[in-house]
Amino acid sequence: MTADVTLDVEGVADPSRTGPALEVTDLQVEFRTRAGLAHAVNGVTFHVDAGETLAILGESGCGKSVTAQAVMGILDSPPGFVTGGQIRYRGKDLLKMSEQQRRAVRANQIAMIFQDALSALNPVFTVGFQLAELFRKHRGMSRAEGRKRAVELLDLVRIPAARQRVRDFPHQFSGGMRQRVMIAMALALDPEVLIADEPTTALDVTVQAQIMSLLAELQRERQMGLILITHDMGVVADVADRISVMYAGRMVEQAPVHEVYARPSHPYTKALLESVPRLDQKGRQLSVIQGLPPTLTAIPPGCAFNPRCRYAREECRQPPVPPLYEVADRHASACHFWQEVRQDD
């Protein structure tokens, strides 16, 4: 249980806790499709500590959502298969567990929030019923007790008139309110790790700000490890402690948030940062990343980014794939020429 974890004032992970809450090592996921073998995740390694926010940043098709699904054990299988690596929660390898054991971990220890709350909630049951179900199945509570806890949860995520609204169906909530219900559901059993897959992409900016501040607050209170999966460089800058940038199923850069924005050390990260228009700047010609991300059935040999990279040389087009070089303290980049990338400005 995570409820008795000691909190310190700053909301930083308690250093007395040993080891990361969730550790993913060399994860491999492939999709066996008619069009061929798609290597969606090719050796991804990351960890998240209690009370910490790790952002996994990448464009569509880079494998960030598949990674999350593999961790949760909700990968569509077939066609998706985990073919290698380890996913350890507090030292126990989830991939070696039976489906029944994994089910106990899900929601209790690791929970997930999805992008589209309307399709993630069941349209034919009331929100209260769906929340209470968690307590009945996992905690063996009665219906009445479950209902009571559901009201408390809706209160927790600041849904006004929670007592009445537990009787409402998902379609009766607005987009922002539905995402709050999703958060309530994910937090119901007090998980230690929360995975949020594009939690605010479908929402308007003012609602996005509400949801992100709610998430940050709940995370701080409960000392959860948060894995935020997103493509939005702005949201990441606002909430993340560390960032992992993914491209074509691999981590290409990992670093604390300030490091990434101040000194990006992989050409892809650097190019991404230069290509986003900024609210506080005008007139700068947007630099463009030429070409397209590779299709996962035909990832180029060597560095997957080489056809689009302005630093690419012969070495980059040949196997092996560049390893994660340590470029500074806690900062790693999978580029042979990271020194050059860092020098350029």
């Binding site: 464009e59 569509s60 607005s174 922002g176 309110m177 308007d204 900016v205 003012t206 609602v207 996005q208 700000a209 509400q210 992100m212 501040s213 493509h231 939005d232 460089m233 702005g234 949201v235 990441v236 800058a237 606002d238 993340a240 948030v257 300030h258 924005y261 101040a262 190019a271 991404l272 940062l273 290509s275 986003v276 228009p277 900024r278 609210l279 506080d280 700047q281 005008k282 700068r284 010609q285 947007l286 630099s287 463009v288 990343i289 397209l292 991300p293």
Partner: protein
């Protein structure tokens, strides 16, 4: 960039669109109306980009549909090159429509999957055959495809053979086919990935310089609008609440809604975390079928007083606001730059 004296190519005067809400099957009684666009006055000058921003449901897409004639206004008028479109004859309207084209949001559904690129980009010529003789159309289509940065050899391919960014380029080529003066872009980059967004934005800017186009650029992404727009109109629940040059709106916003909207946009710079003036609005946008009395933003506004419920603030320049702002208590507040 434009001089303020440039001629007005498109104008709306008190434009209103209400969608009736009915009850009953046989006898449809009118029980109310969704006030999607309510008394909107905008002017678009030659060679200029006017950004229209607002959250979902604020009426910005309805505005675009009205301007291209996909919806008929409830009242008010649309002036194209100074002439009222409602007073034009059918043939005049047909001709006028060549000048104003639409680029749609979703490049996956706005292209017919059974048509080749050549057919899609050439279709405007089938509707307006007088523009170009049939013999020269194929060459023109190739030219257009090249103009938007696609390979002209691919003109016989189908939409599914292209990526999202390339499809959006096809949509842009189709919009350019009839040499329009005005392009309405309805969220043209919001369905695209970040690295592709920049390509399309740059393309739109190049085309504007080359062809002297005027853009009405509708988007919910304020960073993109800041990048591309010369002037910006902020909409809330069917009304324009603030309008001005991009500097006036972004650096000197005076309407509380604009300020809240701007402060909610995350800036990709972690050193600014906690340094910016953050306004987190309570609640959701009210239903446009039953908007609040007086100022429509008052239910979420921290400045609201009695007068806001009683009197609708007009969109005018005020003592505290050098540009038009529809707030009784309009006052400048810089929300995007770090404080102190």
């Amino acid at each position: 960039m434009t001089e303020p004296t440039a001629e007005v190519v498109l104008e709306t005067r008190d434009l209103v669109k209400h969608f009736p809400l009915t009850r009953g099957v046989v006898f449809k009684r009118r029980v109310g109306a969704v006030q999607a666009v309510d008394h909107v006055n905008l002017q678009l000058h030659r060679g200029e980009t006017l950004g229209v921003v607002g959250e979902s449901g604020c009426g910005k897409s309805t505005l675009a549909r009205l301007l291209v004639g996909l919806e008929q206004p409830t009242s008010g008028s649309i002036l194209l090159h100074g002439r009222d479109t409602a007073k034009m004859s059918a043939s005049q309207i047909r001709k006028a429509r060549r000048d104003i084209q639409l680029v749609m949001q979703d490049p996956y559904t706005s292209l017919n999957p059974r048509m080749t690129v050549a057919d899609i980009v050439g279709e405007p010529f089938a509707i307006h055959p007088e523009v170009l003789p049939a013999k020269r159309r194929r060459a023109r289509v190739q030219e257009l495809i090249e103009l938007v940065g696609l390979n002209p050899d691919h003109i016989n391919r189908y939409p599914h053979q292209f990526s999202g960014g390339q499809r959006q380029r096809i949509g842009i080529a189709r919009a350019l086919a009839l040499n329009p003066k005005i392009i309405l872009c309805d969220e043209p980059v919001s369905a695209l990935d970040v690295s592709i967004q920049a390509q399309v934005i740059n393309l739109l800017e190049e085309l504007q310089d080359e062809l002297g186009l005027s853009y009405l650029f509708i988007a919910h992404d304020l960073s993109v609008v800041r990048h591309i727009a010369d002037r910006v109109a902020v909409m809330y629940l069917g009304k324009v609440v603030e309008i001005g040059t991009h500097e006036e709106i972004y650096d000197h916003p005076t309407h509380p809604y604009t300020q809240a909207l701007l402060s909610a946009v995350p800036v990709p710079d972690p050193t600014l975390r906690g340094q910016r003036d953050e306004i987190v609005l309570e609640g959701d946008v009210p239903s446009p079928a039953n908007p609040p009395s007086g100022c429509r933003f008052r239910t979420r506004c921290w400045k609201a007083e009695e007068i806001c419920a009683e009197e609708e603030p007009p969109l005018v320049s005020r003592q505290q606001s050098a540009h038009p702002s529809a707030c009784h208590f309009a006052e400048e507040r810089d929300v995007i730059h770090a404080v102190g």
